[in-house]
Amino acid sequence: MSALVKASILANMAQNKLVVSPIICGSQLGASSIDLRLGNVFLMVRARGIPAVDPGRFAHADDTAGDHAFQQARRQKHERYEASFGHKFLLHPGMLALVPTLEWIKLPANLQGIVTARSSWAREGLSIATASLIHPGYKGVITLELANLGQIPLTLYPGLRIAQIAFYSLSEDAKEKDMGSRFNMAFEPVEGNVAHEDEAFLP
């Protein structure tokens, strides 16, 4: 596995294998990465939403519209905001927000992406360190898990460059059957399922 330099990234885009759309300006292209911008949907944990994130609650729930209690708990976990450009969003210390990138990403079977914070924002305390691996074959926006590790609130606006993605070539193409993801074709952040395939360890 080796990281792609700018020329390789652009060559993959020129061959329509890799899509990062839109790249608003050339300065988003780094030596071996592309800067990603903040999209316009924010999922914020709701303080009064649910008592705890309990995988046991997810384990035997029916993940369809029919299970009222499960669906209600799931929906009440977050507040959802949608903002236009120029609209301010405050990320307080200790707060977690799920946000999409403005860019739509399409990865071929032989590339994976790694997403990290831009260093200028990381220095202000912004972390997007979790779930940073983007699997080969993925298509959609990327969900960023923003956390403010600093002591003062951060003001964010849709369209700001806050993250970056680097691409790594794989030793061979990922298999079609391995490339499916529950989050494929994502248009905005959604809640995960922390019990998925771990039911054996849950009450």
């Binding site: 990234i9 020129a14 608003i24 316009n40 903002a83 450009f85 860019e103 399409k106 074709m185 248009f187």
Partner: protein, 447 residues
């Protein structure tokens, strides 16, 4: 407590509710202009009510209506939370409608205050402009855009707002006069809807299509005659359909057909406010012909795109109408369309023009590959040459691909495919807005 005291109390209640709604984010930028306008109206209302004689029932009645209007508007604001609407589409719609809704009022150059909320179902698409400013003599109108709650992110269907822009324009006196004289006059000059007696005879024509005969029997008592008010309402609908066509183009045709036939699958129902859909479609067929849209596919060199556009034209521009529903001549419709285009151009509202192949083909290709359609440069250039793309061309591309998917022999998941297409187009509008904003800032303009 007498009526006057109660109305003054209600002014206080409205003021308290206005303060309370400040808890919500209900505007893309600032809620200040709405707040200031309301405070001013409440002050004016109170200053008029205070010296009013409690026995002056006429004046009290007038101001009761004003207070009721204010409380309704505040209540709507509560539903205008950020997050309920497709903001990028709304902003493009505002850009399109605002020049038309400007007027020579006392303050702020007549710029309306625009509020957005989601409510109701299929029938809920509306753009409402306050239609009477005389009582309070206030300088700004409040302009509300209403999205059906369940369809709020179905941007392809939102092209129907082109029709609603027509209703908004009709409430502005200077436009109403022009629209009556220049757009409606040619439509009303001749034909079966020329008078109430002719219109009634037309509806009772024994050669009317079978669904009309059935409906006529069914509603015999209720709609035995067409009244002048009904005729006026019908012509306003015809005019608004032309607004939709001229402002939103092809995507309006598709949204219009999809929504109206969903509400009336036969296309032949009529009511006091709406003429039969088949007559509206017949008029739009003449208008498309006048605009040269049926010939548009011949300008396209890409074989696949050409065949998709031909399918679109067949589906939505339609075929020559039957004799009963063909109530306007080609010349009548052509005159009305040209007059409307002139009026829109004069006020600075841009009319739809068919996109070049160089614009349309990349958008359609992006959608086929499930990439949000916009002016993004995907060529892998070190200095991406992103393009400004008219948002209506994004919607048009969306409908072409929707039609392509609908034509495939795979019924499973068609509804889901349409939803995905809408989401892709909504995302494309957001991305295009970002491109436009960046380019405008680079060029030293504002966005």
């Amino acid at each position: 407590m007498n009526s006057k005291e109660f109305l003054l109390q209600e002014c206080e209640n409205v003021r308290a509710t206005l303060q309370d709604v400040l808890r919500h984010d209900y505007a893309a930028g600032s809620s200040q202009e709405f707040y200031d306008e309301f405070c001013e109206r409440l002050e004016v209302l109170e200053s008029i009510l205070e010296p009013t004689d409690p026995t002056d029932v006429s004046t009290l009645g007038t101001f009761a209506k004003e207070i009721s209007l204010l409380s309704t508007l505040v209540h709507r604001v509560e539903r205008s939370h950020a997050g309920e609407f497709p903001w990028p589409f709304t902003e493009y719609l505002q850009d399109l409608a605002e020049p038309l809704c400007m007027e020579n009022l006392a303050q702020n150059e007549g710029k309306p205050i625009i509020r957005v909320y989601a409510e109701g179902g299929l029938f809920s698409y509306q753009i409402n402009l306050e239609d009477d400013l005389s009582v309070l003599n206030i300088g700004r109108r409040i302009f509300t855009i209403v999205f059906p709650h369940t369809l709020r992110h179905h941007v392809l269907l939102h092209a129907i707002f082109g029709h609603e822009i027509g209703h908004a324009a009709w409430t502005i006196p200077q436009h109403k006069s022009d629209l009556k004289g220049k757009v409606l006059e040619p439509l009303r000059a001749v034909g079966p809807l020329n008078s109430t007696s002719q219109a009634t005879a037309w509806l009772k024509d024994t050669k009317a299509p079978p669904p009309i005969l059935e409906l006529r029997d069914q509603y015999a008592d209720e709609y035995s005659e067409i009244t002048l008010n009904q005729l006026d309402s019908w012509f306003q609908e015809f005019m608004c359909d032309l607004f939709g066509l001229v402002t939103f183009g092809g995507s309006f045709l598709a949204a219009h057909q999809t929504l109206l036939l969903a509400l009336d699958p036969s296309g032949h129902r009529w009511g006091p406010y709406h003429p039969p859909y088949v007559c509206r479609k017949a008029m739009l067929w003449h208008a498309c012909k006048h605009l040269g849209w049926p010939n548009f596919p011949s300008d396209i060199s890409d074989t696949k795109l050409r065949s998709d556009i031909e399918a679109f034209v067949t589906e939505y521009c339609g075929s020559p109408p039957g004799p009963w529903e063909d109530i306007f001549t080609q010349d009548q419709v052509a005159q009305a369309v040209d007059a409307l285009k002139d009026l829109l151009t004069q006020v600075g509202t841009s009319c739809f023009s068919m996109p070049d192949e160089s614009i349309l083909l990349p958008l359609v290709r992006m959608l086929r590959e499930q990439i949000p359609p916009c002016g993004s440069d995907l060529s892998g250039s070190e200095n991406p040459a992103n393009r400004n793309v008219d948002f209506r061309h994004i919607l048009f591309a969306g409908w072409i691909v929707a039609d392509e998917l609908a034509g495939q022999n795979n019924d499973a998941g068609k509804g889901g495919q349409f939803l995905v297409l809408n989401k892709l187009c909504e995302m494309g509008l957001l991305q295009q807005r970002a491109i436009d904003r960046y380019k405008a800032a680079k060029e030293g303009g504002t966005s």
